[in-house]
Amino acid sequence: MRTLLLALFLSTSALAQDTGGFEITKNSFKDLYNQHRIAQPKVTPWAGNFFPYSSKGTAIKLDKDGNDDSAGRSPMEVYGVLARVGNEAHDWEKENHSCDNLTGELKKSCESWWGHCNGWAAAAIKELEPRKPIKVGTQTLSVAEQKGIYTELWLSSASLNAGWTDKNKKTGAWVHDHNRPSESYKMFWDVSPRAFFLIFTNYVGAQKTGVVVDRFTGDEVWNQPIVGHRFLPIRKEDISQVRDGSRSYWSALIRVKIYWANDLGTAPGHISKPFDIKKVKDTEDVEYFGEDYEGRYLAFRLNFDQELVMSANGTTVTSVGRMIGDGIWEHQENSRQAGNLDETHPDFIWLPTDPIQDYNGNYGNPYMDASVVAKISRGQPPTPSTPTASQLRLIFPPRAFGGASLEAEDVKKAVTKVIRREAIKHAIYLKDIEISRNRVLVPVRFPQGVNSKALESLFKAADMDVRIE
């Protein structure tokens, strides 16, 4: 895995310290600060449960109030009834979104933090909060079941991203080692203050949309949807002129409080309370607004090519030049070897766009269907799905994979790489793959069926000969 991360980082290292896939359409510090100093999304993302793998994800059995109940039913079970996929979605979830099949460190990580927080965070931004049970045909779906279905649907979504993370290297002294920045160090610090400021003010501020942050700056991932931000007044003492020979620029300490919706300890059937960023004060203390929301204070420096002049109360920029460079986080400037920086700046920021699944049978539940979920959300019984699940045997010549000593995992990756381009829901299990001198047999399950001719032409387009049985 580390090799993969390294390769990824190398190929995208140029993205370090930028706004990544986010489109920045305003960059005037004066306008952004003055117009969007205090902002929250138009629709507040809801607090929810992250359906931990340790409880079998959305295969967890719940009662109608959303409490654990072994005699109850799971969100995936009721989804299966409505989507007419039987128990497949539930069984797949139990098999794949649990910690049961893991061992050692992975199992430990899984039990302590793996779950559906990215699915919930995306759903909390893109779907209105279910606040009451809904009747769909003969079924009545509880709030918890609706939230579970949304969370599963959005687990694997297309998104805009800024920042990278190394989930395999425990946070340690290396985050303070500014003299010898390792690849992990770069991934730790790659969301620059300027990127943070621009993304928050352009998206949460100007567009009034939610964004998701990984609030755990270190190796773990805790995705939280942002419910608001408030930049604090800029004081006279926050502004300095920095001179270097004949050159000079202006540096300002920018302080901000960000708030997000919570998922830790939130019951699946919980209904969120309102959030109002206007109730946040212009102080560094982070207010407590109940269990649904949590906040954090952050400070960083931004630099300008002209003097930053503020109004007397520090809430309005009177004049300033262009933002120059990436800036620096205050905790990077003042980091100490022993300091724990896991709860500082966002490790990465992202915005879900489409509820696509990765469909490779490992991560996204291949039995989920966005159009079915859309109907459920409107209380309409989904129309019976005409295509039925099928399994095909894909037979390739070994040269389709480069010929040399093949591993089942490489074969799976190569096949998935093609199928996922068409977002065809499928599942490949390593144990099913047979590699011999003359052929490579890959049995693939297609939860919603597939047109074998279309599949054949897709592989042909990818320059891979295949015979499909």
Partner: protein, 301 residues
């Protein structure tokens, strides 16, 4: 006492002056930032150069382009960085989407600015007055529509889905503003106007999804654009376009230029442009790869 008072006045009169209190030499990270900041400071003042003369491009040709409305096929880049497990997936292209580009108006700038042409779209609020002073300068309002969202029922749309955008462009391909139409509720869309200020240019020409044009600093390297985008417009991508949008689609093999640059935010933008065409043929940035349906101007392709 008389001695102290003048001193106090001097000190207090300095209080509103900038303090030279922050030291960039705190550690290696602050030093690096300081050096980068000084470098960025030195980079300012680059002379803008329009891509237009390099490639004999004319905005007016949008009126002569065939087909009149044309499509741009966009392959969004997908990444699984946010997944809450130890798995990190790579970045890949997902299914293409078609965006329709149509020209609402292409006229002398002064008609928009002084004569109220298309006044309901408020072009005079975004095209600078200076463009009206020269009778030969031309401006256009171009609309880009997401064809997939256009055909979806309102129940299937999600909040903030970007249905279309309207671009206010001058004949150097500088984008002065973009109006984005965003879905809000089944009965309501909202239009968000983003003005690209003269001195604080926020986007690299047209850099909004699903189109991207090079920034005004772009320098084109002459060559065949298709050669630079072969790996992205691979067999699968061509197959997908043919299956969905255009059976006869084939990558354009033309002479032209390619520019590769990092925009002001560090994101890579790569644009391939065929000589004499009014729209780029290929674009790649951090969010997507796109290819334009083959175009011809007048009779020439």
């Amino acid at each position: 006492m008389r001695f102290i008072l003048p001193l106090f006045i001097i000190v207090s009169s300095c209080a509103h002056q900038p303090v030279t209190g922050w030291n960039p030499q705190k550690n290696a990270a602050t030093q690096r930032m300081h050096e980068k900041t000084l470098k960025a400071l030195a980079d300012d003042g680059r002379v803008p150069a329009s891509p237009v003369p390099d490639l004999s491009v004319s905005l007016s040709d949008l009126n002569r382009v065939r087909p009149g409305k044309f499509e741009v096929y966009v392959f969004p880049k997908v990444s699984g960085i946010q997944n809450k497990t130890s798995d990190t997936t790579d970045v890949y292209l997902s299914q293409p989407r078609a965006f329709e580009v149509s020209v609402i108006a292409e006229n002398p700038c002064r008609q928009f600015i002084q004569r109220g042409l298309f006044g309901s779209l408020k072009p005079k609020d975004v095209f600078p007055q200076a463009l009206a002073e020269n009778a030969t300068r031309r401006c256009a309002i171009i609309e880009v529509t997401d064809k997939r969202l256009k055909t979806m029922g309102s129940g299937e749309l999600k909040a903030n889905d970007q249905l279309s955008m309207r671009l206010f462009v001058d004949d150097t391909y500088r984008v002065h503003a973009v109006d984005s139409t965003l879905y809000e509720t089944p009965s309501k869309n909202r239009v968000v106007r983003i003005v690209n200020e003269e001195n604080l240019s926020a986007f690299s020409g047209l850099s909004l999804f699903p189109v991207d044009l090079p920034s005004s600093r772009a320098k084109f390297v002459a060559g065949k654009p298709s050669e630079q985008f072969n790996s992205l417009l691979d067999g699968v991508a061509v197959h997908q376009i043919r299956n969905r949008f255009s059976r006869s689609f084939a990558p354009v093999d033309c002479d032209g230029g390619v520019t590769t640059e990092r925009d002001d935010y560090g994101s890579l933008v790569k644009v391939g442009w065929c000589k004499g065409m009014p729209w780029p043929s290929y674009t790649e940035n951090a969010r997507f790869f796109s290819v334009t349906q083959p175009l011809s101007v007048g009779g020439a392709r």
